[in-house]
Each structure stands twice: as structure tokens, then as C-alpha cells.
Amino acid sequence: MMKARVHVTLKPGVLDPQGKAIANALHGLGYAEAGEVRLGKYIELDVDAADAATARSRVAEMCERLLANTVVENYAIEIAD
């Protein structure tokens, strides 16, 4: 079993209303030092694969087909065993 860690983030230029709201809330709480905030997803999944390369390419496919909406999102994959 390998562990895949996937980060799904909004593409630059895509408006992130949730990130903006978090930044505003942080300012409201007095954290003047907080700058831009971007909210993404973090997915951990167990993958049964012969090797890291296979796992990576299968997870990339899963991202393309389901885990990310590539119209507005990027994804990055790390594999660990």
C-alpha cells in the first residue's frame, strides 16, 4: 500500500471567495499580518500499486477524471510508502 498526497489548488487568476473571506475574518480577529489566503483541498489516499511511478500515474488519472476540476484547479501529487 502506498500513500498518495494530493494538493488541489485554484489556478492563479481564479477568484477564491472562500480564501478572501478567510483573510477578512483574520483581519477582523486582529491578524493584520495576514496577507492573501488561498483555500485548496488536501486529499490523502491509499493506493495499491507495484511501484511509486505506477501509483503516481494512476493518481494523476484520478485527478484528471475526478479529484480536480482542471478548468479551474491545478493538482500536485506526492507518493510515499
Partner: protein
């Protein structure tokens, strides 16, 4: 040009049309839209479970609202990969009309049937209320029953209805006349205050290039009965189901 609505009897005399409503796990406006379809058509639509291997031969497919798969991961993402969606796409490619409402719109976008993306509402909250919409064009089967530029009232009820597309896509859909509805004020102006969710250019609904697929966040089926306080939505079903002959 305003086209008079076909009457019920005209619809019945015309070639029989058939409609299907796709039911995903977590759909919850499937029955509501079936009621509106039946009112316009005179008989009940096929209710098709998402695992069905076969789509009945129909002239109209409805992707209903709700929370397919709980809206988990991204609204519409999991349902867009349902077995039935391959057939919906194939039918759409052949010209079958597809009406995608709310969660159905999210599914259609995720399935690549319509351009753009639907993001979390700018206000971050679920919003359920009536909105005013401008009918951008009335020369499509979906809107033939409305006057060009008419302002109509439909309810919205969603958390992820904030229409987004990059500038290039926006320019293209505007240029090709693919905007179906825009959020407007009573005077027909697409103001910020009239926009319930932050959608780009106040876009509430879009067509595909062939204009046989239309998706929108507001729910026409929710104001299609005088007892519920309005009937603007009923015209869409009568346009669709009367104009198919």
C-alpha cells in the same frame, strides 16, 4: 419575436414527445421537476436511475436539482461520472435536448456538456430566494415561450452557483450568444445587488454551442404553479415540450 404558447390540446395533438428525468443518489428536485414536466406534457416523464444501462428514447432529458452524492468533493463532480452520463452525453451530441437545473447544471458543467465552472457563492452561504432573470434570447426551444428580453421570476437555492469562466471563454460565450439568463433588477439591469452569488457578468444560465443543452442555477419548476405564487417557470416546460413536435 414572441411566440404564442402552444395550448395543452395542441401539445397533445402534436407528435407525442417523451421526457426523462435522471435520478442520482442525492437528487432531491427530481419529483418537483417531474410534476412540472407532467403538467406541460400531460403525462409523467420516465424516471431513470443513474445506474441504468439504457436511456429510453426521449426528446428531453432533465438533470434535476439536489445534492447528488451530497455535493461531496465538488458539486456535481461525482454524478458527472455516473454510468448514465455517458449516454446523456451521447444523446446530447445527437441533438436531444438537455435541461440542467441547479445541481443538474453543476453536473452538466462537470461532465463537460457546458462551458465554465460553478464556484462557491461569493457570500459563502447557501441562498434560497426568488430572483429576477432576463431572458437573453427567445429563439431557442427552452425559451420560445418568453418574450425577448422579458424579466421573469424564478427561485434559487444553492451554495455553489457562482458562475466562473476565464475571460477568453466569457468573450466566446457572449460572442456566440450562449448566455441564456442573467440575474437582473426589475428594470432588467444586471446589477451587483441583483446577483445572488457573484456570478461573472451576472450569468445565471448558459447554452452549449448547438443550443440543445441549457443549464441554469435558478429553478423554473419552483414557480410553475399558481398556488406557489407564480408561473414564470411553467413557460419553460411548455416551450420545451410543446415545441418539440
Amino acid at each position: 419575436m414572441f411566440q404564442p404558447l402552444p395550448t395543452r390540446s395542441e401539445i397533445r395533438e402534436s407528435k407525442p414527445v417523451d421526457a426523462a428525468v435522471i435520478v442520482f443518489p442525492g437528487s432531491n428536485c427530481d419529483r418537483d421537476v417531474a410534476v412540472s414536466v407532467e403538467a406541460a406534457l400531460g403525462r409523467a416523464p420516465h424516471m431513470v436511475w443513474h445506474r441504468a444501462d439504457e436511456l429510453p428514447k426521449v426528446d428531453l432529458i432533465v438533470l434535476p436539482g439536489g445534492f447528488s452524492y451530497g455535493d461531496y468533493l465538488r458539486s456535481g463532480a461525482i454524478a458527472a461520472n455516473s454510468p448514465i452520463m455517458a449516454q446523456v452525453k451521447a444523446a446530447a451530441a445527437k441533438g436531444t435536448r438537455v435541461l440542467a437545473i441547479c445541481n443538474g447544471f453543476q453536473i452538466a458543467i462537470e461532465a463537460g456538456l457546458l462551458p465554465g465552472a460553478l464556484m462557491t457563492n461569493a457570500g459563502l452561504k447557501f441562498v434560497c430566494r426568488d430572483v429576477l432573470l432576463k431572458v437573453e434570447r427567445n429563439d431557442t426551444p427552452f425559451t420560445a415561450g418568453y418574450e425577448q428580453g422579458a424579466v421573469v421570476r424564478f427561485p434559487v437555492a444553492h451554495h455553489q452557483g457562482n458562475y466562473f469562466a476565464d475571460d477568453e471563454t466569457l468573450a466566446r460565450i457572449e460572442g456566440e450568444g450562449l448566455v441564456a439568463f442573467r440575474y437582473v433588477d426589475a428594470g432588467g439591469n444586471p446589477t451587483g445587488a441583483a446577483n445572488p452569488n457573484g456570478s461573472a457578468r451576472n450569468i445565471a444560465g448558459v447554452y452549449n454551442e448547438a443550443r440543445n443543452v441549457m443549464g441554469l442555477m435558478p429553478h423554473p419548476e419552483r414557480l410553475a404553479d399558481p398556488a406557489l405564487g407564480g408561473t414564470d417557470g411553467a413557460r419553460m416546460f411548455r416551450s420545451l415540450l410543446g415545441g418539440l413536435s
